[in-house]
């Protein structure tokens, strides 16, 4: 690959402003966050391919599974190749995914959409998601939670942008499409949308690729003394490689807590619109209109995004272990309240769901800083990539749990609050498991630490 992508061309000098790094990271995460806005054209694809919701939903599932797999497999390459090369590659895969999927839509070949958006796009998602993480942590050693929270907030923000933008573009490409729930744009309009998004995201991610810089060796922000960093046994100054990390109980405890937190969050996100309508259903009619239910989904998106930034930044102050005790412990209590008294007042239901989803987002955003605390910065990007397989697993388990329980309770459109209790209490159980896993996390044993000679073989600035 061309030398301008190499890590050596991205190392900044001591006077480089670190506040130029978050916009580069955000440009990538805002782009790949589109993956959570697929519902805009879901109905259109169902109509176009003459199939059901399930085969179209598979496109999203493949993308999320590929996200986890590519982040796990390519994490070390991302860490050692540098963020510019990773962002460039992510942009190519993400844009190619849209273009191949557009070809599949134009030729009515669903497998091409699976290959394009699902496989190629999913690889772009995985590389793009982890590409700025270790770089940000090294630029912000004083506030790693804030730094990664900012970037990963972008992943939540990407859906907020892509959803209304896609709606407007579909209306422009197909005047017959009104954007309301249930209306479908024709296939050529969706194909044009995919081409447009592919080009726009490619340009945005290239901006990130060409402005990202790696912190110089031994970088410390002005006015910050690195010796103040290790204030707790839970924050290491040692280095643990990605290969060693997966041999530690800490890695698998983190995997379990991320899996539990994400599965529980998906339990609400997956069913948000019908759930609020069902909770306030009385005698066959619901007090919540479809439009209001759409507003509830929007509010949850805001909670998801805000939680990533607010809670992750808070973890810099109170510590990672304590913030995860809040996500999982307080989250479990809120879930119990939602299941037992959520149907009494709409405002209470909305408030509980909002806070629960903010914890879901916070769990994602705080993970890189938790990994840095336990394993050091040596290969934190690669370790993060491997932990993200928990997300892929939760992406499968969450919908299976919620849909499985609800299918057993009755027909969609006739469910009431009580029908959700088995699923919600299952989520409470998962959160308790995650809470216990977090409690069991201790500092990593010294036998897993790299010797200074070993860690010095890593690229400078990867340390």
């Amino acid at each position: 690959m061309a030398s301008f992508l190499d890590r050596s061309r991205t190392v900044a000098g001591p006077t480089y402003s670190r506040w130029l790094i978050p916009p580069a990271a955000l440009a990538v995460h805002l782009s790949i966050g589109q993956v959570y806005a697929t519902s805009v054209y879901k109905t259109s694809l169902v109509e176009h391919f003459g199939t059901g919701l399930a085969p179209i939903g598979v496109i999203f599932s493949i993308a999320i599974v590929m996200l986890g797999l590519s982040a796990a497999v390519l994490g070390k390459w991302v860490d050692h190749g540098g963020p510019r090369k990773a962002m460039f590659t992510a942009a190519c895969f993400w844009a190619a995914g849209f273009l191949v999927a557009a070809l599949g839509i134009s030729t009515t070949q669903l497998w091409l959409v699976y290959l394009g958006y699902g496989v190629l796009g999913g690889i772009g998602l995985g590389i793009g998601y982890i590409s700025p993480v270790s770089t940000l942590i090294k630029w912000f050693p004083d506030r790693p939670g804030l730094a990664t929270g900012m970037a990963i907030m972008g992943f939540g923000g990407g859906a907020l942008i892509a959803s209304p933008l896609s709606n407007q573009l579909l209306r422009a490409y197909d005047p017959g499409f009104d954007g309301s729930a249930g209306s479908a744009a024709d296939g050529s309009a969706v194909a044009q949308l995919f081409v447009t998004l592919g080009i726009v995201y490619f340009v945005a991610m290239m901006y990130g690729a060409f402005t990202i810089r790696v912190a110089p060796d031994g970088y410390a922000p002005p006015g910050w003394d690195p010796s103040t960093r290790k204030q707790s046994a839970m924050v290491t100054t040692a280095s643990v490689s990605a290969n060693n990390a997966i041999r530690t109980p800490q890695f698998w405890l983190l995997w379990v807590l991320l899996f539990c937190n994400v599965t529980a969050g998906i339990g609400i996100l997956e069913q948000a619109a019908p759930m609020i309508q069902d909770f306030f259903r009385d005698g066959g009619t619901t007090a919540i209109s479809a439009v209001a239910a759409g507003g509830f989904v929007g509010l949850l998106s805001l909670g998801n995004m805000a939680g990533r930034f607010v809670w992750s930044s808070t973890s810099d102050v109170i510590g990672r272990k304590k913030i995860y005790m809040v996500y999982l412990g307080v989250g479990a209590v809120l879930y119990v309240l939602l299941a037992s008294i959520g149907q009494t007042v709409t405002a209470l239901f909305v408030l509980l769901a909002f806070v629960i989803i903010s914890f879901y987002g916070g769990g994602f955003a705080t993970m890189p800083a938790y990994l840095r605390d336990l394993f050091g910065t040596f290969e934190v990007g690669a370790i993060h990539g491997r932990v993200l397989t928990a997300w892929s697993a939760a992406g499968v388990a969450g919908p299976l749990i919620i849909n499985g329980f609800l299918d057993a309770q009755g027909e969609p459109g006739a469910l009431v609050a009580g029908d959700y209790r088995p699923a919600l209490f299952t989520m409470v159980g998962l959160l308790v498991v995650g809470f216990v896993a977090n409690l069991l996390i201790k500092p990593v044993a010294e036998k897993f630490h790299e010797t200074s000679a070993t860690s010095s073989t890593a690229p400078a600035n990867a340390r």
Binding site: P14, L30, A460
Partner: protein, 52 residues
């Protein structure tokens, strides 16, 4: 694992402090404007939860 960092001096391609200030404004504008657009559009949807 190979090292490719030792070949180039750190900061060789850094823009001047004045240029960095301009880049800072442009960078945050480029990501901030779409984000504000998304937030405003979402808030408009959220309003329907309380009115619709």
């Amino acid at each position: 694992m190979t090292s490719s960092t030792s070949s180039a001096p750190a900061g060789r391609n850094d823009p001047s402090p004045a240029t960095q200030k301009v880049l800072l404004g442009v960078g945050w504008l480029l990501v901030g404007v779409p984000l504000v657009y998304g937030l405003v559009q979402t808030l408009r949807r959220v309003v329907t939860l309380f009115t619709g």
